[in-house]
Amino acid sequence: MISHDVLVIGAGLAGLRAAVGVSQKYDTAVLTKVHPVRSHSVAAQGGMNAALANVEGSKDDTTEKHAFDTVKGSDYLADQPAVKVMCEEAPGLVYELEHFGCPWSRLEDGRIAQRPFGGAGYPRCCYASDRTGHMALHTLYEKAVELGVRFLEEWFVLSLAVENDRIHGVVAMELATGKVEVFGAKTVVLATGGYGRIFSRSSNALINTGSGIALAYEAGVPIEDMEFVQFHPTTLYGTNILMSEGARGEGGYLVNNRGERFMEKYASSAMELAPRDIVARSIQTEINEGRGFNDEYVHLDLRHLGREKIVERLPGIREIAIDFAGIEPIDEPIPVQPGQHYSMGGIATDVKGATNVKGLFAAGECACVSVHGANRLGGNSLLDTTVFGKLAGEAVKEYLDSGAESPDAKILHSAFKRQEKSIQEIFSRESKGETPGGILTEMRETVFHKCGVFREKNTLEEAYSKIRELQERYCKVAIQNITTRRYNPGLMNVLELKGMLEMAELIVAGAIAREECRGAHWRTDFPVRDDKNWLKHTMAVCSQDGPVFRYTDVEITDYEPKERQY
């Protein structure tokens, strides 16, 4: 049996940063379903927040102010001690990436440049043109290969071996051969990213299925605040590829079909740079009330920025608009609409990434610390991935330093047998049965349209029964081609769909239960924030009959909840 001290699952920014931290001291392997540089982190555009106070206009920025903006942005649902840690670590991590080689955009004097971002009181978003994720991910991967980190690429983790609240390892499948293998481990770090692709309109990579959250859920870890789903206000109409907030940070306007900068009505002082939940609702309201274009989108207008600024600061946005919509933003406005973008909720962890299972940690978008609460600020996620990737790595070292037990071969073997059996069972199904495609499409449309920007009891309940129906149909879902296990996408689709349906169920059930408006969770039938009853985290635990919910207190240490105004 293969065994390691540390197994990191996922090689986006969070996984890479965790691996870079532990690999010099403990035997570490990184399992990832795609090559590390194909991870979704590569697509991040706008930047990463840190109160460096580098630019004119941010001279008196501080980590406390960053923390306050984050807490306010979260609609007071974030745990304040965790937010404080993240904001204090931020400058160190931006500098660390710089030392590793990240080509940050610069000021004339050679220091790192910063741009304004939504919900932030100062320009504190550090960026590498509008390709920050690409630059940061390649940089961390370069550091990892320098350190000789061991990668197992195109291995898909199927389950966690957990017994008596302790991790023993994972079961995974090699895509190239379809071989199922068990890996023993004293510690496992989940860094598997978000679940965007359970929504029909999403800015996320096609591979973002949330499978790591599902792994933890199935292993008995509480899943926190799943009803909080970020809808990005500006995704490209048609493909929903992201048009970064950086476009508005650089001065872009949002305009309706009457030519009005409508944000005036909704956030008269922050305008286009209000937090995402507010801008997304404003756009959706304009569209719903007939002031959109073709009842589908509004315009993101960059023309007044001029060619030079667009080419220099937003080259990626421009390239995407040209390639995917045939629109040259220098000459024409870009059609945009809200789309799912980020998972605020996820695997419940403490500030060091530890879960309730001994030896099991989580970091990055799959985790919920919680630093984003009910609404994440742009630029805080790249930050979250690196900070909590680093801290999870440190926590793993502490845990191993104190002498962790070795994994139990018997437990691993039975975990392996369970997975092997279930794959054999899938291959034995009637190949003429329903394939995953139909279920996927119905799930995506249901979740986006009935549990989207605006929510309401009746439609949420319809969505819930739909998901239960799809779960039943899932039990018989089949692959067409049963001749081979080698790189079999049909099999992957069946395997991933199970977790996706579980995530959909958690989101919708959490949204039905929470009878208030907070951040990205907007109930038209309960149109106010209700701190008395709902200043609480949702914790969903897996049971035979679906999720069981309990609620825990939010850690409020510095900033008392107030009404949010921008």
Partner: protein, 255 residues
Amino acid sequence: MSQKNGNTDNQYTFKIFRFNPDVDREPYYDTFISGFPRGTTVLEALLHIQETMDDSIAFRFSCRSAVCGSCGMLVNGAPVLACRTQLMALTGDQVLIEPLPNMDIIKDMVVDMKPFWDAYLRVEPWLHVNEEDTPEKEYLQSPDEVRKLDPYINCILCACCYGSCPVLGFEENYLGPAAIAKLFRFMSDSRDRRGAKFLEKVNSPQGLWACHTIFRCIDACPKDIRPTDTIEALRRKLVVYRFKKFFHLLKQDQK
């Protein structure tokens, strides 16, 4: 697949390369006919075919927005990113889909990229610094110094250049265009301390000297990187270095 408005579907005939080394003696082609609306990309079309007609067709994908580098393949013979290629932009209604050349086939369009990554490692693709010089905050770097890197840092490691390189067809140990462009990116970075002597490591017939300057990589690159230019620039740098070394013109720290 995303729905584009106000247009009718066009019919396309896809001829798709198939090979599963476990069961097939040799590769063959499958044909699929389907209608797609205006604005459909090759990747969207392939996903549609996979979902509705044959779920065993293997190809890689991830971001669908031309930044992750997963979906490099041959479309009508040209190495491209499937996600960025519009069906409409192809001539005619026949679409031939094949894997990138110069690598072994795992299945269908999924190739074994190990040689590509091995070459990448050979150039030590990370910033070489002296630990003791690391500043407390950032290394200072002017906007112009960053601008010099801009054309090269956009590389997404998709291997379209690697698949298009004629030299790799007969010299499988050649570094290839992407790795050399990566080396150039680091050697052009004002923070990198490796110096010209590093080029000795790639001073071989499989290194800097294998390129026949046929420029296919420049045509293939979806990010407009010009690998051949970097190969020529590094050759010149190496020649200057050797010349100085021969005539004892190098300073102590350049040796």
